[in-house]
Symmetry: C2
Subunit: 253 residues, 2 copies
């Protein structure tokens, strides 16, 4: 694959933390949002894991992912209750201490009156040593970044605000470009010829997504992705020519 090296490829993994996702009680809304957000700013999401609120599972996942990807984003487990163990687990993964952080307490005080700033709420100010805070414009309690791991809330509106704040300081990569083509044909007809075009353009990734549409029947969307505009357009022209040949064959038969 011909990769230009003037702008590096930046990768990320996402770790979703929470029993409620694994029990099906809460339907995750963050994976799709973060996937789209990262693609948009030129960061490749390479892997997602969902783990439960068990310290050793969180530590193992963080350590497996942070050595493999440029960045690791986490969601969930930074609230005030006993099952919110993400911050402590991250500190353990990095082998650093954790304590109530005066910067985080100051942020909480902007929202919570002193007489309501109880022990549980102060849990939200526990930040591993050496971490930078991630601003939370919705409810103040911050996320944090330590090394290449960025810890955010699980509540979607809060996560989204944190992701906006985080994105401002993340170096972004060369953006992945994409082109969608409507085949208007069943996937089983397109698949063989598409494989041949793919072989001719190994540097352009080609995906095929079948669906059933009322009034049209089975059809297929083809998605081409590349970081190089020129190669993307060449590949799109080749796929379009291939589709035209197939459509002509369908009409004449």
């Amino acid at each position: 694959m011909a990769e230009r090296t003037d702008q590096p490829v930046i990768t990320a993994a996402l770790l979703v933390i929470g029993d409620e996702i694994l029990s099906g009680r809460t339907k995750d809304k963050n994976i799709g949002y973060i996937a789209e957000f990262l693609t948009e700013i030129g960061i490749d999401l390479g892997e997602v894991r969902v783990v439960s609120d068990i310290e050793e599972d969180i530590v193992a996942a963080v350590n497996a992912l942070r050595h493999r990807y440029t960045h690791v984003l986490t969601t969930g487990g930074i609230g005030p209750t006993h099952d919110d163990i993400t911050a402590d687990s991250i500190a353990k993964a990095f082998g650093v201490s954790i304590d109530v952080d005066p910067r985080a307490v100051a942020l909480l005080r902007e929202r919570i009156p002193d007489d309501q700033l109880n022990e549980a709420r102060l849990r939200m100010a526990r930040i591993p040593e050496g971490a930078d805070l991630i601003e939370n414009s919705v409810s103040k309690a911050p996320g944090f970044s330590i090394g290449n791991v960025h810890v955010m809330a699980g509540v979607p509106t809060i996560m989204q605000a944190m992701l906006d704040a985080l994105a401002e300081r993340l170096p972004t990569g060369r953006k992945m470009l994409s082109r969608s083509l409507e085949a208007g044909l069943k996937e089983g007809m397109v698949a063989g010829p598409l494989g041949e075009v793919q072989a001719a353009f190994p540097d352009v990734s080609m995906g095929s997504y079948p669906r059933f549409e009322e009034g049209i029947g089975y059809t297929t969307t083809l998605v081409l992705r590349s970081r190089d505009t020129g190669r993307l357009e060449e590949a799109a022209a080749a796929v379009e020519a291939m589709l035209e040949t197939l459509r002509a064959g369908t009409r004449s038969s």
Copy 2:
């Protein structure tokens, strides 16, 4: 934790396979559905991973998960195109051969006329040696089970039909029971006392889920989970008593 051993705890992991989920182009609808389905039939979903259409990543994930959980379910990557590499990757993970399977071809023939059963469509009949087929009542092309790994389609309607077929032959576990309680209080007020009740009931898992509701303001749902009806009811009574004390304190202040 007091676990009765007359019915074993059965665990599962889910492996979602597909570049389109990681790019954000397709929003996954299978994780939440499968999580709820498994909980309902008494199987604990312990972990989810989403990986891209890269053989070594699929093989590594399957081998990491199948030794750790009773079952591994996979979704995606069993269509007719060049990027559908799940069946071949699973065969590699198990170190068995893979070829077009006459049983699967017979199923495809029920739906696809002989003159349209091209090489690409026959890819959908590639099944690892020794696997059992999983019926697909929607579009015929089957999934399969090999060892404790169960391979299903990514299209939600087809995946759901396969899951129904699969569930008939999966041994199920002792069902996890749950009770939801509306706190009517902010999470930061409930968190401390809830931690104390949790400490008294280490065998009942207690989750806390804050939300903002129009007209009510911030409130919190508490979810208690246990496999033992008696313990669940005792814990629920203890939490309800704790909440009543907190509410009385709020009213009098």
